[in-house]
Symmetry: C2
Subunit: 380 residues, 2 copies
């Protein structure tokens, strides 16, 4: 690890640190010391303790219950408008924020959902998060993210790690072995892009249709020998891609001539594609499980002195921004990532309200770009 160049340490203001301390031995300080200081004068605003609804009540001259009623907007017909205004003014003056731990404890729910994704390094999951968080916000829900460090790692425990109190969980594209840990949480669970047999509520992408469209496209261009670069990741979505590809090829004049597993990185794609292209007779098209693998595959083609798509066509999956960052731009399957996140959050809300979740399969589309073309020998 590189050495740290020290900079002059900064002194923290006591107000910044105070939050830390007031919990440690709150019992003594709160009851005996701080509370009394607070009553004695200006220490109130400079004091270390975070204001509670009691403080707001005291300042507004009302009971603590009235503060709660007003701030939760349940005061109409129960508290006079003048009193309500006084409470809001006091809360504003003190910078009051309700203690969410206390609220959660009282209510038994938190209006917070956890999104579990295999890794943050993929733009796809960032988009899933965006869609889910948008719907969550529309329903006054918070959204917390747990990146399960490694798909291959021993089953993680998101309920220990993301310590937030949670109402429910959305998990996307998890490894098979991670599912048990998720289920053990006992929370309502919605799975995205996962085995529909394995879970109560699932929102999926039409992976099979995506592969079918790729095959149609390649076969239509004249390709007859196709190799598959699969992601060496043990999750349903990649198993589904492999199955869908071989299903889609049956009944066409084209054949799957080789399959090669790859680490889900550019380098992984490069190595796997190199191996796949060393098989003779050589495939004229490489179907890759992911845009990242496709980017690596394109590099492999060039390192062999061949061209994309002149000698070898390459297809991706996902339509990440990477697909248009490389040249040639990738022909790929666009996954509606934001939409699956949004639909997943809606399904979770339904489960939480006791309604049947609107699970289903979201359509995908083929994006034709420049990494595919007719095979060199093809005269059709």
């Amino acid at each position: 690890m590189a050495p740290l160049r020290p900079a002059a340490p900064r002194v923290l203001r006591i107000t910044d640190l105070s939050y830390t301390y007031h919990g440690a031995d709150r019992r003594s300080s709160e009851g005996a010391c701080v509370a009394s200081v607070r009553h004695e004068g200006p220490a109130e605003s400079a004091g270390p303790a975070r204001p509670t609804s009691r403080d707001v009540a005291r300042r507004a001259g009302v009971s603590q219950a009235t503060v709660s009623l007003v701030l939760r907007d349940k005061w109409h017909g129960r508290v006079s408008p003048g009193t309500a205004d006084a409470v809001r003014a006091a809360a504003r003056d003190l910078g009051y924020r309700p203690n969410l731990a206390a609220r959660s404890l009282r209510l038994g729910r938190t209006r917070t959902a956890l999104l579990v994704v295999p890794a943050l390094t993929n733009e796809y999951f960032a988009r899933v998060h965006t869609g889910a968080a948008r719907v969550a916000a529309e329903h006054d829900f918070g959204m917390v993210l747990y990146p399960s460090p490694e798909l291959a790692a021993p089953a993680p425990d998101p309920f220990d790690s993301a310590r937030a109190a949670l109402d429910g969980v959305i998990a996307s594209s998890m490894a098979v072995e991670a599912l048990a840990a998720l289920r053990s949480g006992g929370l309502p669970l919605v799975m995205l892009d996962s085995d529909p047999e394995g879970s109560e509520a699932t929102v999926n992408l039409d992976i099979a249709d995506g592969m079918r469209r790729i095959v149609e496209h390649l076969v239509g261009l004249g390709h007859r020998r196709i190799a598959h670069v699969t992601a060496a990741v043990d999750s349903w979505t990649f198993h589904a891609r492999a199955r869908a590809l071989s299903d889609a090829l049956s009944g066409t004049p084209a054949a799957l001539v080789h399959t090669e597993r790859a680490d889900l990185t550019v380098t992984g794609g490069l190595h796997a594609a190199s191996r796949a292209l060393s098989v003779t007779p050589r495939a004229t098209a490489l179907v890759c499980d992911d845009d990242v693998l496709a980017a690596g595959a394109c590099k492999a083609v060039r390192r062999l002195g061949l061209r994309v798509p002149g000698d070898v066509s390459v297809t991706g999956f996902d339509d990440l921004s990477l697909a248009t960052a490389v040249e040639p731009e990738l022909t790929t399957v666009r996954l509606p990532a934001e939409e699956i996140g949004a639909t997943g959050m809606r399904a979770l809300l339904a489960v939480l309200e006791g309604r049947p979740p609107d699970t289903g399969v979201l359509p995908v589309s083929l994006v034709r770009r420049d990494s595919t073309g007719p095979p060199a020998a093809f005269t059709g």
Copy 2:
């Protein structure tokens, strides 16, 4: 929005839904109904209520306080080993998990930190998260992520959105206007890659040194006319990059001949680089604020019928996986993303414990690849 193809809705098991209900009117059900059922027999295991420490105590035949002592591992010398074993067995049998909201309320802290990042779409932040979460886990801290939806959006309120109770906040590369919202939370705050004047505790990257190395490299290759493709993002790190570039160029034979602002996307980089290259006399090297911009810049060069690096050299910043996904692979500055995350979390832990945080500046390094070379006309 594309239509949803409906799938057969699945019926959820009651045990999955139960968690939802037990909070809504827990008072009546818990006190009157469920608790009594629980005592009457097998309803205990099938019952909807999540077990509490009281349930564990009842099963183990001890007081509720003893359960807490044992499970928090504070029982040595206070509880007999046999009793401790009985408590652990009972907890296991019931699948007991402590209610974190209650624990947080009681302790006044949560051992949870919030990481605020401008966007999830960037691999850099994923790596920062990885580093921070690793250190957090080593100290039995949880880590929760809040992607501030848009750098340019009205100041977000992470404390409303990430509803978890939090002990502190780490914020990376935030827009200037987002800082006020962060500070208003009143929580201990560590800033990463941010203005050291603007915050109490800051961990930074040696951005200036990175730019200096790029300039040395380019000037050494013979470049004399350099253009800068800046990210149109109002955050300290990009202001720092601009300042560092012009500082580094002064005193060299090279000049900054043009600056062009770009949206932080491949397309943004492409457009900005096109504009920059239309200025005459043309720059022989494009210094880009980010690898994503550099990828776009390379495309722009080729669209003008020029080659990288033969006619125009291009440099990036960050060393994302994108840097080696494109061809030619990018010469760029590698930022120790995981390390800044880890150092930031260590600084936050220090603040929380009242120690002076180990803030500082982390070194960066230049990675020479294939997107830079001597300028065409150079005969040095």
